[in-house]
Symmetry: C2
Subunit: 624 residues, 2 copies
């Protein structure tokens, strides 16, 4: 018996030589990194050497649920996927939900490390500790939903859970994601990493159960969590009914719903067309992740025009931003269709939509001509062109080839000043909050170890006005450095590692996140934590991830914004006149690095900080 | 315990008053009608009165597998669906395979009779004898594959098997089918009957087993069947590898692959584009019906253009005909896409493709103009227009509304001589054999109780040259009346009732079909049959079905062909010069009615024949 909540096992599969090994998960790794993203980043740092080609056999893909996953703690069926990102060359880490994460725990593994490259298309089949590499030719080329069903039929087991890539991943689009059920490990191009290994899918079936170290403590800690969920004025009364799309209404009200490639934020605010009310007539039902009592994910059915009858789980807020605001499209059914098409083809909806919005602005400005687009009228708002372009991108066909790797690479190929319109940080297309009106949120975009990512230090203080740990003015830069460190560390430790749904943190758990995580960790695993230990785990992981990026050549210079955000004030709406000047950024970064204990001039972690976090060997490796 | 192979139970669900009843299956019904189509037609005749509106609450839908279904007899996981057809107003009966049929038997039922009309969208959930009517609003409007998955999630059981309709059935298209897994109970618009009842789906899970009356006899009879299958020079060596598409090659060679709405048979023979070899590069794997060792159904993946990545189980020969030959389309990937789209939207591929080919010929001849088609360039060969039109038909949108109910109704609306181009018999669009070069096959089209249907008396003697029960010349009319009676009765009794895959009859079992069916029936059920009793069951059912149609006003006058087949000889290919003149038809019909013991002038069964078959009360009802 291992520590409760952990299976104690790492499964290592080398696709080059077809070796399959089980290793013991060291208890000190469990203690120091908790699980999920923590494990992913730990093994990425240790095993993927600087300069590794992200699409070469040297890169690895690390799947890790957390110690809460697969227990009866609700909202914990999450899995992190980590590798070196082909899109950003930083740490690539993202999470997905559904049933796959709990299934992996029940099958007996805390970590799955995939190495090397298969000679032929293959898929992995894991059943309760038995592992096979199977012929993937039957599913190579298929869309993700077909792939999942064919594999279930192939294994003659409809209860198998499958994570897979679509054509986009096979075609090495750097916007490719990994899909399980209707859910995506979406960003940073990890689908292309999977494709580069000729790995189409991972199928899992697990019948095991997980031990709880202290059932008594567990009952209490879980009870506290359930009570906080029940008492939240937001979680069940609002969030469970509408899901994330309410953020369209919210961000439009705040004047921070980015529009038309960030050129019309505050002007184009299609709340009545693509917000909560508009979606109501499209709602057909809910989907729940494994034992989740909330069910924030709604199935929505397109009702009109050439999209009628197309269903999607979603679109989530970020997709409404990317295929709505960002592209100037306010046809909700076309957005539902785009969402579904991305899921089927295995494309990240955020990066894909942002890339299309980018191409649209280039077209509007004459940088891309009708010859470049092969006849596609890429005006803002052209939802048919948008849906067609998704397809072309997944297959790298014509204009799709130019755009298949996101805005940074496309801008480089196009030249002609296109980079001015490329809305990304470190290569990752920006998500759906115009940070000119939410400055800690912006600082987190600038400093997140994954590039322009909303989920590594989400500033709910600014977006939802939650006064945790203290109230802030979203338009001010004051105190945003310290806040961002807190947001990043707490989110990492209480969501990305145990692994717990981020929406729980934002709606119910924020006031007690570290306390409850400490209690649950102790109850589940028997390892002892104080709340500040939990925050320290988050800090450790953010430092280790930063160290990985430093080795890849990232320094302070890359912690920045697209020029537009620093020079063009918002022209309309509730954040009118605001932007983040270069001086503002400098002030926030200085405060942030100081709070982090990183060198102000380079943004590189200091030896003192690394040693304090038990990362002395990392300091040695960095030469600091 | 009931007779082995039968569960002994009829499940009757009235959607109007929500009553759910179990009734005993009378043993004499089992004996006289075997199962499947036999049960369907028996209860349709007894319970659906003449003149009933097929889309009103008075129509019924009868699902019936056979006594072999769910046992270890291979290739028997088939289910018949019977109701009054809204397309033809005749008996509507078709069969589907997959796992759903065996699941129904394992859940405890031989027959499911659905009556009335639900007030709101609903679906039926049957689990091992427990039955619920559940809210169908979550799946109403969805495509068939989504619907199946959502219901599995809704029931929290991934092993459920679901039969459902798509948007086409909801929109009461008379071409709508019922889909389970990737398979269709395709023809005669039974999907619209389901839609008219506000019934979206039937979900079944069964864990029961079926008794075998005599295990010893069973072993012998099943062994004989397996031996015949193994020894067939066709079944495993050819058919299992290529499936039905080999018939494209075969019928093109015979000059009977109908092309361009039957105007260019023998001229347009796209073997190299859409035949077996062309499909080879699209094959990705096999699908098997429940315990079928053959797996004739291949998964195929479109590879090029806007269709890349679209997968279908199929296209079967009939779909290659309807979306290929019939429409003049030789782009194989567009046909794969059309096949998938029909499955998703719940449209019969044969009728839909034939209807589009019909519209294309009207467009080519100026009977439909570009104004009628709202800009769609409906030339033969326009595969993009074809795929677009499928969508419009399912949603009754624009031109789709005109065509959604098939060629007969569309021709009536269009006028201007359009009926000359409407290739149907009794309203059912013609399947993929140009019967001008296969005359018994033609006679079966003309006389089948379901209208222009290839599956009610398939003349494998003509299509494959099998000399069973004797060799015939496909181009001659000689002896075709008697042969057609034999083909219809044997096929009904040995395929449609027990229920056994028709492909088995055509490839391996024909020489011993009635003998083996008699042996298996006796072994499975304990009821005793001689081979001639089996044939007699087929005759009984064909007579009862005819009686149903007679009550609906059908007589000899409707046993005919579209004018084109009787007046335009084939202009090219191996059947050049042939057609079926009105005189030829008269000769064949006279011989057929004589063989059947039906009145020559009216085609109505005689009292003598009906009494001989134990259908005296039917004779009373018909007043003969």
């Amino acid at each position: 018996m291992y520590q409760g909540g952990y299976t104690g096992k790492i499964l290592r599969i080398n696709l080059t030589d077809k070796t399959i090994k089980e290793e013991k998960l060291p208890l000190e790794v469990a203690k120091d990194f908790i699980g999920g993203a923590g494990f992913g980043i730990k093994y990425l740092f240790d095993e993927v050497k600087p300069g590794t080609d992200p699409l070469g056999p040297g890169n690895k893909l690390i799947f890790a649920p957390g110690p809460f996953t697969g227990t009866t703690i609700p909202c914990a069926s999450r899995i992190s996927v980590t590798g070196k990102s082909p899109l950003t060359h930083t740490v690539g880490m993202c999470l997905s939900g559904g049933h796959f994460p709990a299934e992996m725990k029940h099958a007996g593994y805390d970590v799955l490390i995939i190495e090397g490259k298969s000679e032929k298309p293959t898929y992995i089949w894991i059943k309760d500790g038995e592992v096979q590499l199977r012929d993937g030719s039957k599913v190579w080329g298929t869309r993700t939903f077909d792939c999942q069903q064919i594999i279930k039929d192939d294994l003659n087991d409809q209860n198998v859970r499958v994570a897979c890539i679509g054509p986009a991943g096979e075609n090495l689009s750097k916007l490719a994601c990994i899909i399980n059920e209707r859910r995506a490990a979406g960003r940073k191009g990890l689908g292309a990493v999977m494709g580069s290994k000729n790995l189409k899918a991972i199928a899992i079936r697990g019948n095991g159960t997980l031990e709880i170290a202290s059932k008594e403590r567990f009952k209490i800690a879980r009870g506290e969590m359930l009570k906080a969920m029940k008492e939240s004025p937001v979680l069940y009364p609002q969030f469970a009914l509408t899901g994330t799309p309410s953020n369209v209404d919210n961000t439009c009200a705040l004047g921070i719903f980015p529009a038309k490639n960030w050129s019309a934020t505050g002007k184009f605010t299609p709340v009545e067309k693509i917000g909560v009310e508009a979606l109501e007539s499209r709602n057909v039902g809910k989907e729940h992740c494994y034992i989740c009592p909330v069910g924030c994910s709604l199935l929505r059915l397109a009702r009109t025009g050439p999209y009628a009858g197309i269903l999607s789980e979603g679109p989530e807020f970020e997709t409404l931003y990317s295929f709505g605001g960002q592209t100037g499209v306010d046809n909700i059914d076309s957005i539902i269709a785009a969402d579904r098409l991305c899921d089927e083809l295995g494309l990240d909806t955020i990066s894909t939509g942002v890339t299309i919005g980018f191409a649209m602005e280039l077209f509007e400005n004459g940088i891309l001509t009708i010859t470049d687009t092969e006849g596609l009228e890429l005006h803002f708002g052209n939802h048919q062109a948008m849906n067609r372009l998704i397809y072309l991108m997944a297959f790298r066909d014509g204009l799709g080839e130019l755009l298949a790797d996101g805005v940074k690479i496309a801008a480089g190929k196009i030249g002609r000043g296109a980079d001015r319109y490329a809305m990304h940080i470190k290569g990752l297309e920006l998500p759906g909050y115009d940070v000119r009106g939410a400055k800690a949120h912006g600082l987190s975009y600038a400093t997140a170890y994954t590039g322009g990512d909303h989920n590594r230090g989400y500033a709910f203080q600014e977006i939802f006005g939650l006064p945790i740990p203290y109230a802030v003015d979203r338009l001010s830069i004051e105190g945003k450095g310290k806040l961002t460190k807190w947001n990043q560390d707490v989110r990492t430790a209480t969501s990305d590692c145990p692994t717990m749904c981020v929406f729980l943190l934002d709606t119910a758990m924020a006031p007690m996140a570290t306390e409850n995580t400490a209690s649950l960790m102790e109850a589940v695993t028997g390892l002892t934590y104080k709340p500040q230990d939990i925050e320290k785990v988050g800090e450790r992981i953010n430092n280790l991830a930063r160290a990985f990026n430093v080795q890849e050549g990232f320094t302070r210079a890359e912690d920045t914004f697209p020029e537009r955000l620093m020079t063009e004030p918002l022209e309309s709406g509730a954040s009118k006149g605001h932007f983040i000047s270069k001086e503002d950024l400098k002030v926030m970064l200085d405060e942030y690095y100081a709070a982090r204990g990183w060198a102000l001039d380079t943004g590189i972690p200091t030896r003192e900080k690394l040693v304090e976090l038990g990362l002395g060997s990392v300091a040695d490796q960095l030469g600091v």
